[in-house]
Amino acid sequence: MSRNGIIALVVAVIVVGGGYWIWTERAEQVAPVAVATKTLVYCSEGSPEGFNPTFYTAGTTFDATRPIFNRLVEFEHGTTKIVPGLAESWEVSDDGLIYTFRLRKGVKFHSNASFTPTRDFNAEDVVWSFERQLKADHPFHKVSGGTYEYFQGMDMPNLLKAVEKVDDYTVRFVLNQPEAPFLANMAMEFAVIMSAEHGQAMLTAGTPEQADLTPVGTGPFQLVDYQKDATIRYKANPDYWAGKAAIDDLVFAITVDPSVRYAKLKAGECHVMPYPNPADIAAMQTDPDLQVLEQEGLNVGYLAFNTEKEPFTKKEVRQALNMAINKDAIIEAVFQGAGKAAKNPIPPTIWSYNDAVTDYPYDPDKAMKMLADAGYPSGFETDIWAMPVQRPYNPNAQRMAELIQADWEKVGVKATIVSFEWGEYLKRSKDGEHQTVLLGWTGDNGDPDNFLYVLLGCAAANDGTNRARWCYQPFDDLLVQAKRTADMAQRTALYEQAQVIFKEEAPWVTIAHSVVFVPMRKEVVGYKVDPFGYHIFYGVDLTSESAPGS
């Protein structure tokens, strides 16, 4: 055979062999693989920053740490209601300063290659977990950088006076002032209970940072392996105190691009995906293999008037500009179906949401008349600050600003659109440089106080988180009173009243609450959309055989 012939033969063998190989592989992939264990694959949107949730504030990180840990109290799955977690019950003293938690007995910590617990969970672990964040002289306070962002952000250092062990199964939290939302804070991610024994063992071994890299919790799943930017693997905790999870293995396949996540979901390479492209949702809803769950997110997007600057010091001007905005058109254009109009500063998923409040109607003629009555017959000039980034509560602030600009133009108000780099934007708007600013908020603990006091209270007007810089005493008094009251019914009444005042005074244009969509395959059962936007897999099961992962 000539040389040419040999080369041609080799090429032919490679082509035919390669093709056959791919073909046989395809057949294998399509055929259902019989597996003894139930593995749920979640195509997560990014890598966690780490596995100790007390350091971070990002939802992506919390999704990855949530399977591992428990808190003293938990949010009931799918709601913002607080239910017992590692604490079976709790009492609040009459003055609202002392919270006593009675702990669950027989709760086991996870074990891993370098650590096997010798005792069950007890009060030591609770004290250890909180003192690590609270006390600068705690041996672990500085380990792994030690910035307890959420703990600090929720003002816990000023709120917590002491965390005391009463006996092995009773812990007392002493506060500096009465604070009803404290209980909701205890269900947040920074309030996870870690193993004091594990920490001590790692400290003795001279590798304290391992306590954060190889997390040991009491949660429904334990961490098996993490490959950065690729996969996170968990296995069900067989000794979980609330019963073993229905699935045996949980895998996060990190997939950054939403179109690729969708492709993986369709191809059966994962069961659940977060954050779909709004444009894909309609197709997903009609796909016979998929189901799409949805719920309003725990957030609000708003436009705040700087009430310290003319003409926004006048209530009538603020009300008029509320009426000048065609909210429905904005939501249609900016959210593309993934948003609902907001009338209150808190989302409807939060208790005490006042549905009796009516929003300002879209009425440019009346707005013009009100402006004239307020002394601005020919309008005025102002600015609209538009965020440079996409946020859940506002996917396109530039576009939103343009629409508002056009609406206001119709009533004679000429607005220029202003934007800065995100960090700069936050800083300058906090300093009150704006006249009107687009921003929003995602709730932390499901308590109305977390929206109303943080965003609209007088204290927040001083430090700048209250972008309207609006300090209205009758409103603030209600919030302070609600903070000091432990009784749920009383608090609800106070917050409902506060929302009425808010609407009348109109320091904001409340724009929208985003809608969260979670697409998943049909064989996934028991999944509930979490109002906080987390993705939780305890309580989820798979019907029939489904073995993604090729």
Binding site: I22, K264, A267
Partner: protein
């Protein structure tokens, strides 16, 4: 040869300082403060903000920061990531094998296809072969990577189900990485089917990443071949009755390869740049995605360290390419 090598290596030193200075300064020119970005809408009180900046050393004069950074780098310490708190070098070494593996496969794909079609187009100049090769390669060169990647995924992974959508290996296989190169690790794991799964996961990303280098190589090979084929010695070789394959394969190709090798060397930079997009589409856990994340989070140490390391790799590869000329063409070696 030794002198040649020393000159080339000594050039690396000013380049190294240039890269560190440039990245250090440029990163700090991007507006935004890592701490402000970390806390977002929630905000942070000024005292705590100042304390955190001091902890990260961001409160010092910029020249002092640079001095400290360079002193650390020279001792092999690239600092710790602001976000994950892990040493930058560790993170880089965990992720870099994935990028190398993908880039090697991409360049291999580009060579295996690009060289022969380039030769074919050169030899059959002006024929339908030539026109189709040039047309297709121009299309490949102009293809936006993101769009091309998604298109292939939709066709081969979703519709035909021939290849997996993304990732490095099927989730069914699970083993601790030894070398970080999945092709090797999957063989070492001894799990049946693991290697095959890895290879299948490489097909689409390598194809996407290799498309632009393929087009460049094909076009470069063609024009180099055209030039060489017009030389007198080729006519002589043909005249003395050598078989055409021998004339093309030995006499022409060897001389045509020099510019092609230069281009391949330069493609390494292109590959690492393209890897950023390709890795994002195919959820490939390499350094491209890591660098993008670091920019978003203003993670100065990761970004500085990452860019420096990538620059070092590109410089090293180009040095090797320079040395390769000598091997291909002894005249260059002797001339120096």
């Amino acid at each position: 040869m030794l002198r040649f090598l020393l000159t080339k290596v000594s050039l690396l030193i000013p380049t190294f300082f240039g890269v560190t200075l440039l990245t250090f300064a440029m990163i700090r020119l991007i507006p935004g403060d890592p701490i402000e970005l970390l806390v977002g809408e929630r905000g942070i009180d000024p005292a705590r903000h100042a304390r955190l900046r001091a902890e990260l050393g961001l409160d010092r004069p910029i020249l002092e920061q640079y001095g400290i950074y360079i002193a650390d780098v020279l001792q092999g310490d690239l600092g710790k990531s602001i976000v994950t708190r892990r040493p930058v070098l560790d993170e880089f070494l965990t992720l870099f094998p994935a990028t190398i593996e993908l880039s090697l496969c991409a360049i291999l794909f580009a060579l295996v296809i690009g060289l022969p079609v380039g030769i074919l187009a050169g030899v059959r100049r002006g024929t339908v072969w030539d026109h189709s090769v040039m047309g297709v390669s121009l299309t490949g060169y102009s293809m936006p990577i993101f769009w091309w990647g998604l298109l292939l995924i939709l066709l081969f992974s979703v519709n035909l189900q021939w290849t997996p959508v993304s990732g490095r290996i099927s989730l069914v296989y699970f083993f601790e990485p030894v070398t970080g190169f999945m092709l090797i690790d999957s063989l070492l794991s001894g799990q049946p089917g693991a290697f095959k799964s890895t290879a299948r996961h490489l097909i689409l990303p390598a194809l996407v990443l290799g498309t632009i280098p393929l087009a460049v190589i094909a076009r470069m090979t063609r024009s180099a071949m055209l030039e060489v084929l017009g030389e007198d010695y080729i006519r002589t070789a043909r005249a003395k009755g050598l078989p055409p394959l021998r004339v093309i394969g030995l006499h022409a190709l060897r001389n045509a390869l020099i510019p092609v090798v230069t281009v391949i060397g330069l493609q390494v930079g292109v590959l690492l740049g393209g890897a950023i997009l390709t890795e994002t589409i195919f959820s490939w856990p390499g350094i491209g995605k890591w660098l993008i994340d670091s920019i978003g989070r203003r993670d100065y140490p990761s970004l500085q360290g990452g860019i420096l390391l990538v620059a070092m790799v590109v410089m090293t590869v180009n040095l090797i390419v320079d040395l390769l000329y000598g091997l291909i063409n002894p005249r260059i070696r002797r001339a120096r």
